[in-house]
Symmetry: C2
Subunit: 290 residues, 2 copies
């Protein structure tokens, strides 16, 4: 049973006001930012969208490691207390321990998704969809087999799904056809659980659910990472959901700060970010050079 | 009437052995490399594929300018005698004269494609398809209107076509559906000419021809750039197609050198490059950091 998180005020501690850092190559990780910022209203967030070099999904592990170190350097300069690699392609190199140790913990999205899949699957037959880089790295397969050595994992790279989301064709017969083409080989393997192994895919959840039918559970990695952070990072990131009836403390008067930095100027990104994060308010947008 | 190009040997000059440089964000520009290397068998070529930062099509003009200057610096270090920006998205910033002057001429692909379209169109109703960056930059429209102020230009960004080519679904009913969705608004405007404004699109020529029907002419920018270079760059790049009956000169014994550099390690790129360039032989592949 999960204990109710204890707030700084209740503990009589000074709150750790350092922000939590997140990054992704683009807008995908905003789904995770929204979940965390909603669940942790007293926390501040710094989000880096590496839009100048997106997408990561088609790049080699060596290149992804280089970008990821630069992104973590950026978050370090912003004095984050923890960092979330809100991108599956980049998470694979974290799981493989290919990045150098930092003064703050670095969370990936592969392990939370794998744990949720193993919990959800009754037959142990689990499907994974993701970008080419994520599928090639095989990180989900290895994480799942570590948790359940009897599991059978079936993966499929779906490089067209991110551009379909970015085109805005989420609920479209054409998109359903593409999804069907990618997922039907997995359905032939009688999977009962399908991991949405890319932070863009939750936008296609309705279409994917139609294609897989009611007997396959979908694992949304943005949901899983929020749960894991709430559980594992409790002492670090201090989850303090505000009880509706509580008297306003001084802390409640400090508005939550959400700062977004992008490496390429993009009006489209700013619009999508505001829409995706609503009703959360973004305190600042800036363009940065890494 | 085009004059037959005159070779160095015929002119009694020493050949300029410096290579011709080309670059693109990925494999697209290889279609242009192949045409040039076939038409200019005595010339050496240096091709840069900026695979670590592909695609350019979704990046802002500021970021594309930065990448392009770095790519031209690279070609300058390789002492090229001329450079071809074998990418439509990057060509837009060349047309707009946003890059600094170099000691060698820099050719883009927009102007050759526009000239060919104006020559081909009888009604002056011309369609353009390309990436978001190319369509947003409006360079084709401006170049065409300069050549024919009475022309009507209709553009459509087609962000899914590059990933469809990279997925290998070139001749596929699903791809035809996507093409139909993108192109039907242009057909409603009664265009008689359609510019394939992205170096990937020639791979979809068969499908696009099916969708547009026999009354719309397709303009392939790789064909146009080769023609322009042969015409305009004659004194510089010395086109010397080998006459089949000619006696072998000493020059003929020097094999053509085609060097390819990529910014991200990618086995897939090397395979695709060998396949696309066949029967030309690539002398060297190397990975570089810009």
């Amino acid at each position: 049973m999960a204990a109710r998180p204890i707030s700084h005020a209740e503990k009589g501690q000074m709150p750790d006001l350092r922000p939590i850092g997140l990054f992704d190559s683009g807008v995908g990780g905003l789904t995770i930012l929204k979940k965390l910022a909603t669940l942790l209203p007293h926390e501040n967030f710094v989000y880096l969208g590496d839009t100048a070099r997106l997408p990561y999904g088609s790049k080699s592990p060596e290149t992804i490691v280089k970008y990821l170190e630069q992104n973590l350097d950026f978050l370090e300069r912003h004095q984050v207390k923890s960092a979330v690699v809100a991108c599956n392609s980049a998470s694979t190199v974290v799981v493989d321990q290919r990045i150098k140790a930092r003064a703050f913990p670095v969370f990936d999205v592969i392990l939370p998704g794998s744990e949720a899949a193993v919990r959800a699957s009754e037959s142990g037959r689990i499907g994974i969809i993701g970008t080419r880089a994520t599928v090639r790295a095989d990180s989900y397969q290895r994480a799942i087999l570590k948790l359940n050595p009897m599991a059978k994992v079936f993966s499929m790279a779906c490089p067209l799904l991110v551009p379909l989301v970015e085109e805005g064709w989420e609920d479209d017969p054409l998109t359903n056809l593409v999804i069907y083409r990618y997922i039907s080989p997995l359905l032939k393997e009688n999977i009962d659980t399908l991991v949405l192994g890319c932070t863009h895919y939750p936008a296609l959840k309705t279409s994917i659910a139609k294609v897989v039918g009611p007997h396959v559970q979908l694992i949304d990695s943005s949901q899983s990472i929020a749960e894991i952070l709430l559980r594992e990072g409790e002492s670090m990131i201090e989850p303090t959901p505000r009880p509706p009836s509580a008297a306003k403390s001084e802390l409640d008067l400090t508005p939550q700060k959400i700062s977004i930095s992008i490496t390429d100027k993009s009006e489209a990104f700013v619009e999508v970010a505001r829409r995706l994060l609503y009703p959360l308010i973004v305190s600042s947008f800036e363009q940065v050079d890494l």
